[in-house]
Symmetry: C2
């Protein structure tokens, strides 16, 4: 009998986090860094803004001059002129004076606030002030956005549009990111044919190469898809060796039949330096998932069933690849959209395995309702119709209708 090394999901997580990868780092332009993982901490080399700036179009002035000002009891100030947006005022504003300023403009010395245009009337060189302002009203103070030395981006963070905005503000035009893993996809099985062919009875089209490629694209990863491999030991070895020479990770899918599964395992175990990290996960669907380390590279043996492959990708392969790209907090942030929803019917589960139930989401009375989509194992339809997955922890025998559950939305 073959040796099964079945891991729980928490054992799998520990295993992933303990693997020592040799990360490769490269420098990219800021405009090429979005969705990549930062390989450095980035701190602000200077404060922002550089000086006190107006957040409104109006007049810079001394707030104490406006105390008590109102529509019926206006105050009058002397207009010293108008500042341009990029002007660095070299004079000091005195009590009783004001100066026109635009949004983003720098306040002159002496001014401590800005009065909005709409509460003023310009009478030649005199300003009629119809509202009081308090000190610092409508201005941003030097360093109020970012202080010098403040951390803007942490090592291991996946860069998003908000980081891009902060980095651009502070003049970070290049930064170090991790190289993305190269991923190869191999589908294997005597029953598989290319998707442009009409299957004979007993044949199925190679769906997995396409869905895996799409799921990788969602993670901003490109994949090399290799031609279909028959259940032939020599052909399979050659193809895996080729894919390993060209990639960091190979996703081998297929093996829905006992024959293919056995062959896959046999081939992988016989490859030089192969180390089976796990063979089976306490996960449903996805139990027959296999991970083998060969030298510094990795081969996933994925289930053949087309919807199991997609779920295993999302729950197992995706976090693995993200760790391989240097991302931290991968399991905390394992899903971009986790909703709370009320379960509409009881679901049973088998303790000892982590289950992922396909659910539909609907809104009702300001809450989301999650309805399990039942269907035989092996059907494509339930995943096709689902809006997300409902995880059931491995210590539960099920969840009762009416429970507030977490749904991982696609």
């Amino acid at each position: 009998m073959e040796f099964f090394k079945v891991l729980s999901l928490s054992e799998m997580k520990s295993l992933f986090l303990d693997l020592n990868f040799k990360f490769k780092v490269k420098q990219v332009k800021l405009s090429d860094s979005c969705f990549r993982v930062s390989a450095e901490d980035v701190v602000a080399s200077h404060s922002w803004p550089l000086a006190n700036r107006s957040t409104m179009d109006g007049y810079a002035l001394q707030s104490k001059d406006t105390f008590g000002a109102s529509e019926t009891n206006p105050v009058y100030l002397k207009i010293k002129g108008d500042l341009k947006i990029d002007e660095h005022p070299d004079f000091e504003l005195k009590s009783g004076e004001c100066v026109g300023i635009v949004t983003g403009g720098l306040l002159p010395k002496g001014a401590d606030s800005v009065l909005m245009l709409e509460y003023t009337e310009r009478l030649g060189k005199t300003l009629e002030v119809k509202k009081s302002v308090h000190p610092q009203e409508n201005i941003i103070l030097v360093g109020e956005d970012f202080e010098q030395g403040e951390k803007i981006l942490s090592h291991g963070t996946r860069i998003n549009f908000k980081h891009i905005g902060a980095l651009a503000t502070l003049g970070i035009d290049k930064l170090k990111v991790y190289e993305k893993p190269n991923v190869g996809i191999i589908s294997t099985g005597d029953e598989l044919i290319d998707i442009d062919k009409m299957p004979c009875l007993g044949q199925v089209r190679d769906v997995n190469s396409y869905t895996l490629q799409a799921l990788l694209a969602k993670e901003h990863l490109e994949a090399t898809v290799y031609p279909l491999v028959k259940d032939d030991k020599k052909q399979l070895i050659n193809r895996i060796e080729l894919a390993l020479s060209e990639n960091d990770v190979v996703l081998l899918s297929g093996g829905s039949s006992v024959g293919t599964r056995d062959l896959t395992l046999e081939v992988l175990q016989e490859m030089g330096g192969a180390q089976v990290l796990f063979h089976g996960l306490a996960l449903s669907p996805g139990k027959p998932t296999l991970l083998v380390k060969i030298g510094e590279k990795f081969v996933f043996g994925l289930p053949g069933q087309v919807t199991s492959v997609q779920i295993v990708f999302m729950v197992v392969v995706s976090p693995f690849l993200r760790i391989l790209e240097g991302e931290k907090q991968v399991f905390k942030n394992n899903w971009s959209c986790k909703l709370k929803a009320i379960l509409t019917r009881n679901i049973a589960s088998v303790p000892g395995r982590f289950q992922l139930v396909r659910v539909r989401l609907e809104q009702k009375n300001d809450q989301y309702m999650a309805t399990p989509i039942l269907g035989k194992s092996g059907l494509i339809k339930p995943l096709f119709l689902a809006d997300g997955l409902l995880p059931i922890a491995d210590n539960l025998e099920g969840i009762k209708a009416g429970t507030l559950v977490e749904v991982w939305k696609f």
Copy 2:
């Protein structure tokens, strides 16, 4: 005084939906279709599966032969052999007989169910059956996933990994999608400098070109970023004309100062065939947003303030571009992740405008809690720290702490 055509958000939506775009369609390979918008309804040209298939490794048999079978009271059947995964069995199974089958394998005529391997013992040519099965157990029936003529993909749908799986299953290797709009980005303002330069007092780096590019990349759109333009009428006209000749939509950002704003409007209005679709939205932040149609093309005048631009992009520009790409139900699906959360403090709002409040999300007692991030208008920090936006409808004066609200997570 200039003429302001301020629209409510619902007026803006109607306007977007009523614009007549000249959509361009092209055919792409399935592997290039993910995240694109389908330009056709796709129906299944044949049923799937093509024949009854096993979902388990085990034995195909007649379920009535197993009635009453148990561990202590097994039933014995004659083994007719073993079917390969891609084998099309040409015999008819009779009562008292069974045949080995693998997951995905075709059932022979006469067999109506599959018994899992683990409930059997093989005694030479005889199978010991230790469990009963019911009719259709562990099999998928012909057409159970997809029936011939069934719609797999609707016209106007953005294609995701689930569609890819169904389309590959049914052999759709090419499909018609809409062309993506070409987008040009122009930043304008005398105070702007490139991000690799150190600003003098009064200058700011050009953040908007970078954040807009990142936000477009999130929508799978590439942009052409043009060099910075000063507040110079001729330069601005030339640059807009160039960008319009190369793109379908131009995002003109900047104009945080009165001067730039006026100049932008003046320039756009003077361009041949220009039609101002709106000038101002009842939206906060984002009021000064402007949309002009020039011939068959569009120019957005976006606010200059760097966080307003990002929010306006998400709430206004993104749905516009998605409609321009032929996507339907854009306003229903305007955000990929809408959570329910409990508001932790009162927020005031001004009726008559749709407000978007930056919030942080935390989990507490199985619920999300949304806390508004307060901060002066013009600061970058509140958006930088936010996890999402809380929309406040334009008929509300605010929302009370403890209310279950919707949060649009980034």
